[in-house]
């Protein structure tokens, strides 16, 4: 603020006094946000630190920084649980999550196109029903679904975790894609129709490519939610070799001794890693997708 020698001194001081409270407020706001961020990130920092701490340091000190790095925690974690290696567990988790992603993207976009663009009988009531199922508690249908899959001999396989996704049971994503498709200009399909495209070709060639942002949002959310899912896996899977990372972590739940802390949290870090990577890579889609779910409703 000492630069302006040409302008009268009075205006300079007036300008600074006028601006300073705002600047101070902005600095205070950033300081508050950063402080809040530090508190919020503490559990993650704690997780990372504990995963490389030697057993004797876990309980003895609250220092986040370990006295020495105990990488053997990760070696122990890589051996896995119940003689099933982490590689296998990771593969199982990935298999279920990818199946769910493909299923959701396919089935939800198909249903969404019908709701957003095509006319058919009972469209209004069916759409209302679809919206209502977003709010339906999963537990209301859990036991009969289990009985059905049990009758089909599918318990302790991945089918109960993947098959429902191919039947557009996650109505939230149908709704998300419907909202997005409604925003696309109708002229495109009109043009496609004039060029001789039926509903199928205009869906696959015109609409689907344009819906890509919503499909990516669907894919990422499905991946993360399936990856984090615990309840469904807990019910349907019981052979250790079919376990996912989440289920393997569960076996640490019963063991409360702190001696297992290092390997347990090393495995926790491994289990969180894909989500963190997905978040860093696609945060724009995730944040926008979440924002759009609320407005326009």
């Amino acid at each position: 603020m000492t630069t302006t020698t040409t302008t009268p001194a009075t205006t300079t001081t007036a300008a600074t006094t006028a601006r300073r409270p705002f600047a101070r407020r902005r600095v205070a706001l950033h300081a508050a946000c950063l402080a809040a961020l530090l508190v919020m990130l503490y559990p993650l920092a704690w997780l990372l630190a504990t995963s490389v701490k030697p057993a004797d340091e876990v309980i003895a000190s609250l220092d986040l920084l370990p006295g020495r790095l105990e990488w053997s925690n990760y070696e122990t974690a890589l051996d896995g649980v119940n003689d099933v290696s982490v590689g296998r567990l990771l593969g199982n988790s990935l298999l279920i999550a990818s199946g769910a992603v493909i299923g959701n993207v396919l089935s939800c976009s198909l249903a969404a196109y019908a709701f957003a663009r095509l006319r058919f009988r009972f469209r209004g009531p069916l759409f209302a029903f679809m919206i209502a199922t977003i709010m339906l508690p999963h537990h209301a249908v859990l036991i009969p679904q289990y009985i059905i899959f049990n009758q089909l001999g599918m318990v302790n396989t991945y089918w109960p975790l993947i098959l429902p996704k191919f039947l557009a049971t996650e109505a939230f994503f149908v709704f998300l894609i419907v909202q997005f498709m409604r925003g696309l200009p109708r002229e495109l399909e009109e043009a496609a129709r004039i060029d001789g495209c039926g509903p199928f070709r205009s869906f696959f060639l015109v609409i689907l490519p344009l819906t890509r942002p919503a499909l990516i949002t669907t894919a990422i959310f499905t991946f993360i939610w399936t990856w984090n899912d615990f309840f469904t896996q807990l019910i349907y899977l019981f052979s250790p070799e079919k376990f996912t990372l989440t289920l393997a972590l569960r076996s640490f739940v019963d063991a409360s001794s702190t001696s297992a802390f290092g390997p347990m949290f090393a495995m926790s870090v491994i289990a969180l890693l894909p989500i963190v990577l997905f978040f860093l890579a696609f945060q724009r889609f995730l944040v926008e997708g979440m924002a759009n779910s609320g407005i326009k409703g």
Partner: protein
């Protein structure tokens, strides 16, 4: 519900242009092709299970022997003879009543703080949102249990002992994990705040309204549909929380049933004790309870949710 459509009748909806009636049957057929996975899922994985679980709720069923009809016994047992059931209802309601308002209040405060920020808004938005993605995982639930355990960080800082071992405090630890995930409603609030026209605030400023007045008279009413949306969504989600309570109490709902959430007890009855009929009755009560709560929220919303400019949407 979804009887296959017969394309012979022409309906007078007047929605499609009447110029090409010949095309409509084909398009209608196409619509059902697109819908078929959803229709199948809705029938086989939603409607049929709901009907079956209603039937099972009047039976005794252990997955192996055929269900035997017991009338209302599951319900009367639940309501009059099962103290654990009522403890689970109490724990769930207490948790919802603590976690949801705290989470939404924090989400709104942070959204307001970020709203007019010129630099770093996108960064904070993403950073605050991250826990919403991580928080549902078993990994974080285990971290939470360790931090709130005897000798954990909270015990060390506050000297209260481990929260997860004390009936009065364990629930609060779970609630704080939910509050930690305020990012998702915050992002939705922020999107809603940005839709409020700036002229409203300018006009209020001209009229001499202070910031608090502006918040009460402009922000709250204009944001009320979004507040309502978040309230309904988070309440329904909170009723169904499972993983953190399972992790913190090693699947038992302890100490002293203080974290025996409804879902946890339902899992215990159905899949641990194999009382599928009883668990189905619990599921239906949960369904009705969520329905009633949602209906009440919608009913009260008429008095406080303000939908601006009908022509706009």
């Amino acid at each position: 519900m979804t009887t296959p459509h017969t394309p012979t009748t022409v309906r007078g909806e007047g929605a499609a242009p009447p110029a090409r009636p010949a095309r409509r049957p084909r398009r209608e057929g196409a619509a059902w092709v697109f819908l078929s996975p959803w229709v199948l899922g809705a029938c086989v994985l939603t409607l049929l299970p709901m009907a079956v679980s209603l039937y099972l709720s009047f039976t005794d069923y252990d997955l192996f022997d055929a269900p035997s009809w017991v009338g209302l016994r599951n319900y009367t047992q639940m309501f009059t003879e099962d103290p654990r059931y009522w403890r689970s209802v109490g724990a769930t309601l207490t948790y919802v009543a603590i976690a949801v308002p705290l989470q939404l209040a924090l989400a709104l405060v942070v959204a307001l703080a970020l709203k007019n920020m010129r630099h770093g808004k996108a960064f904070y938005r993403s950073a605050f949102y991250a826990p919403s993605l991580l928080g549902a995982s078993m990994s974080i639930a285990l971290v939470w249990r360790a931090i709130f355990n005897d000798g954990g960080t909270v015990d060390y800082l506050l000297g209260t002992g481990g929260w997860v071992n004390q009936p009065g405090w364990a629930l609060l630890a779970v609630a704080l994990l939910t509050v930690w995930q305020f990012g998702a409603p915050m992002v939705i609030f922020l999107a809603g705040l940005q839709q409020i026209p700036g002229e409203l605030y300018e006009a209020a400023e001209v009229d001499g309204a202070g910031r608090w007045r502006q918040f009460l008279s402009i922000t709250v009413p204009m944001l009320s549909p979004v507040i309502f949306f978040n309230l309904v969504l988070q309440t329904i989600q909170a009723f169904q929380v499972f993983t953190p309570a399972f992790a913190i109490s090693a699947g038992k709902g302890g100490p002293a049933d203080s974290t025996l959430f409804y879902t946890l007890y339902l899992y215990d009855r159905g899949f641990v004790a194999s009382h599928m009929g009883y668990a189905s009755a619990m599921a239906w009560v949960l369904l009705l309870a969520i329905g009633v709560v949602t209906a009440v929220l919608f009913r009260t919303s008429r008095s406080w949710v303000f939908y601006a400019s009908e022509g706009d949407r």
